[in-house]
Symmetry: C2
Subunit: 484 residues, 2 copies
Amino acid sequence: MSGEDAPAQQQNAEEQKQQETKTPAESPKTESKPDPPPTSASTEAAATAAAAADTPAPAAEKAPEEDTFTYRALVLTGYGGYDKVKLQVKKGKPALKSGEVMVRVKMCGLNFADLMARQGLYDRLPSPPVTPGMESSGVIEAVGEEVTDRKVGDKVLVLNRSGMWQEVVVVASTHTFLMPEGMSFEEAAALPVNYITAYMMLFDFGHLRPNQSVLVHMAAGGVGIAATQLCKTVNDVTVFGTASASKHEVISQGGVTHPIDYRTRDYVEEVRKISPKGLDIVLDPLGGSDTHKGYNLLKPMGKLISYGAANMLAGQKKNLFAVAKTWYQQFSVHTLSLIQGNRSVCGFHLGYLDSETELIDQAMTAVMDLYRQGKVKPRIDSTYHLEQVGDAMRRMQERNNIGKIILTTEPMKEEEKKEEAKKDEEKKDDKKKDDKKKDDKKKEDKKKDEAKKEEKKDEKKKEEAKKDDKKAEEKKEEVKKEEN
Amino acid sequence: MSGEDAPAQQQNAEEQKQQETKTPAESPKTESKPDPPPTSASTEAAATAAAAADTPAPAAEKAPEEDTFTYRALVLTGYGGYDKVKLQVKKGKPALKSGEVMVRVKMCGLNFADLMARQGLYDRLPSPPVTPGMESSGVIEAVGEEVTDRKVGDKVLVLNRSGMWQEVVVVASTHTFLMPEGMSFEEAAALPVNYITAYMMLFDFGHLRPNQSVLVHMAAGGVGIAATQLCKTVNDVTVFGTASASKHEVISQGGVTHPIDYRTRDYVEEVRKISPKGLDIVLDPLGGSDTHKGYNLLKPMGKLISYGAANMLAGQKKNLFAVAKTWYQQFSVHTLSLIQGNRSVCGFHLGYLDSETELIDQAMTAVMDLYRQGKVKPRIDSTYHLEQVGDAMRRMQERNNIGKIILTTEPMKEEEKKEEAKKDEEKKDDKKKDDKKKDDKKKEDKKKDEAKKEEKKDEKKKEEAKKDDKKAEEKKEEVKKEEN
């Protein structure tokens, strides 16, 4: 914690400078074709974006395109709460190396890893300042040398280690995948991380087959919905899905055979009631004690697939207690236990697979085929503007979503902005009220504490007095004994 | 160790009585068909079998068939060396419960678990006295009630938790599998444990696919050869196989792409030279430090499958040091490590799957299909008579086999027996010589030890003298300080 929340404004300005020097214009342009001018939308946004205040004003004299080219980007400015992700304006056209493409982003996907990253709990995101985001969709705007399988105008979905939450991204063309006919940009941004994760877990590690049973935690989340749909592509698979009761109708319609309200029920008991022998596959995004429970629910030849530690997330900022507890309870297993149980324990995280182009390609091809056959279809929970990224993250972290949360690069309309501003004001007011309440409560608590302390002191004094009495007596006894 | 090797002869007689009372004739006969009389072979053997000396002579008066029915059985009489498995004669026709069949056994398979069991290292074998053995082949001699899919005369292979090393076995019919056309009894006894183990590991836990790479330890052993053949049923799979150099030609012909002599080379280095990124699947029957090495050789999405602790076996009897070392070095893994590496660790042992009829059936069906297609074929290393079980176990434990070691229930011919007896005599002589040598060496060692001890004592005395001097000086210093 400590200095992380310190003077964010000054920090930003400096960080942004660093950011800019990080991407020097090595090879200014690989395309001779003129680039479209920055959309009015993005310049408009530039003027109003929160962080834009720190950005030096564009040079008045006519500058080369590399300098006039600007685009909006979300930037994680330091680890902490929702407000650590700021909307900034980046200047200068990014250079394209051989094999790379530039994509004008339409939509971006939100993932649990992004929430972890903001708290400093995800080591695959470079240090701040950095643009988060592992997936997006958009249109190819320029292609670098030696790129033969993509052309300007191609609609693509993009999967990358980070940097997807901005209007313009430059990535290796191997990180882009052509969007199938009829797929919306929202769907395209919702698909890569969740569906590849669910696919590789269920079919590579899990080797899911007909008549098997699967436990899907957070069944209304992005991976949860993807996993449920993929389970349904195999005959007679029973899906146990945990989610709060209000989401049960939707996840049942989506294919969950037995929805379990983990808030009011013990999911282990619920599973055992229906499937006394246990489960073939447990997908575990929670970590900590839930991994132990999942392991103990496995049938012979069962597979536990751990793919996160969502239990570490408690509150906006890094909660050291939750982290320590989850870490302390983290599951570790001995091969002899695995042998005697005929069990498998697997770990999966797409973020650590970013260089495995072939594996990703295989999974993506399979998922796209299923999409074309109508067997899988991302469910969009909600779409937020870049300016609203804080609200988007809050919705995900508080687990209010059913399906994927999307960010759109489409600029907010003026009236929307005004509404946002109002809401912000209200929030501030609420916060003030809250703070006042908190202050009042603190004062009260303090008074109570002090009263209690006084009481305790009194008690302590009494006890000590008692002890002294006792000691005195003991001494007397000793003296007696010695005398005897 | 301790009392385990104690008076084996007396123990046997008592144990055998217990054994007999364990199988009461609940339902004497479920078949009205007369049973074949005990073969002359088995009565002949009964007269000469080592352990038969303790068996009470058959009653002279005419007894019911249940009593005249005898058959030879190998019995583990206590934990320890090769001689703990004795050939005995069992009396009385075993009763058949509903759903069971009686099989006249032709051949039995030897497995690593049998070696572990003899040393008391395998908890799936009931306590001695007990007949070991997990697999055999033979002909159905009687069927119990409600058995509809087997009939007298069917040639079958049998897979069971224990009790397969005897001439007659009674098992649930679900533990028998019809032998395909053209399969020999040797092959049938060699197939169940090794091929089901290799199949389930490679295709269920391993999810083996084209172009992948697999490390097979003990590639000339039963599971090793089965695994190699199964790898070859998938396109372009690279097999790394460890075995001593003398076996390389055979295993190469069998499909091992890169044989590695683990006695003279570091297999980790050898694998890395050829496959710098590592391996997709590691089959690990060794345990201990080799599991760590295997884990570190995994590629992303790689699977380590641990299926034994052969490193615990060192010498004939339980070697506490080897057991402790293997146990101490036994691999344990944390889910966070699995997540960051995108890895899977699995444990497999068929002995713990004996109630999973459906899983076993699926694997067996698949293996039988491959056999019929000529894609797999057990390789028989050697066949021993029941009387030679000690030699058979020794051959396996000393890793001199290439392929499966089989026990046949066919009785030994008279001349073979004489030869065996001669060999035994020679062995005893050798043992005496060895013992004398050992004694001499012990005496010498004792002398050396004593001399060393004397030296040490002298040194210790000198050191203590030095220490005393030092203390004296320190005291002087202290006194000085105090004086100052």
